[in-house]
Symmetry: C2
């Protein structure tokens, strides 16, 4: 399960992606998405340190995506906030660590199964970007307006 932080992070990133022309401010993001302002500030710092957003201070400051929305995947956001996607460290690619007890990490059925599961899941999350999600949400929005 994702942490609340990760859910907030994704929502914030989607919010920012929606207005690429201007910087998005924490205050407005937190209002629009229903995220505690102070909490979101802390999360945004993590996203900035991870190189996913850029910040500007001062009166007209705020956050922008560090790259086009089509180059920021869900996987990257989730990994930044919650760490590995895999179900065990020994099945992780970006945060690999061998199990303390398991002497032979390569010849372990559990590790193999979980690695395969991770790869399948990761391929979806790596392959879907903020731009994809934004496009989808806009389409849903249209449908709602028609109905």
């Amino acid at each position: 399960m994702l942490s609340q932080r990760a859910r907030y992070a994704v929502k914030a990133m989607l919010n920012i992606a929606r207005t690429p022309e201007s910087a998005s401010q924490v205050r407005s993001i937190s209002d629009e998405e229903g995220i505690p302002r102070r909490f979101l500030e802390v999360i945004m710092v993590d996203l900035r340190r991870a190189g996913l957003v850029e910040s500007a201070r001062g009166k007209t400051g705020g956050y922008r995506l560090a790259r086009p929305a089509s180059l920021i995947s869900f996987a990257e956001i989730l990994r930044t906030i919650d760490g590995p996607l895999a179900l065990l460290p020994c099945a992780s690619r970006n945060f690999y660590a061998r199990c303390a007890d398991c002497p032979d990490t390569v010849h372990c059925a559990l590790s193999l199964v979980l690695a395969e599961a991770r790869d399948r899941m990761a391929s979806v999350l790596e392959g879907t970007t903020l731009a994809d999600a934004d496009a989808l949400d806009r389409r849903f929005q249209l449908l709602r307006e028609v109905a």
Copy 2:
């Protein structure tokens, strides 16, 4: 990430699957797998209540698989101990719950992406049984003996 409980549960189930002819006792499982005995007892009760193992009390008691190992999937074990495989309740099939904030659960890009990720991962975990893992581990065992 899996909880320690879930990792222990899988290891215990694999241990039991290895000797289908006799009942496995908590004491021996905990010794062989390096799991705290008292802790494992609690875990086994959960597995029994979920219908994955059957127990016998008394002097020659112990645990057996409730079904053939080829009919017990990793998914079932993990779900029993850690709950949903999905990254959010709104993307879960067995523990579905709509998000409190998200008014329109069907037309939500995040939900769709996570559901797809869940399905891919779940198909691996549903499709792999204790028998599969056991067979694989036995093969690894042979390789080690040759070397």
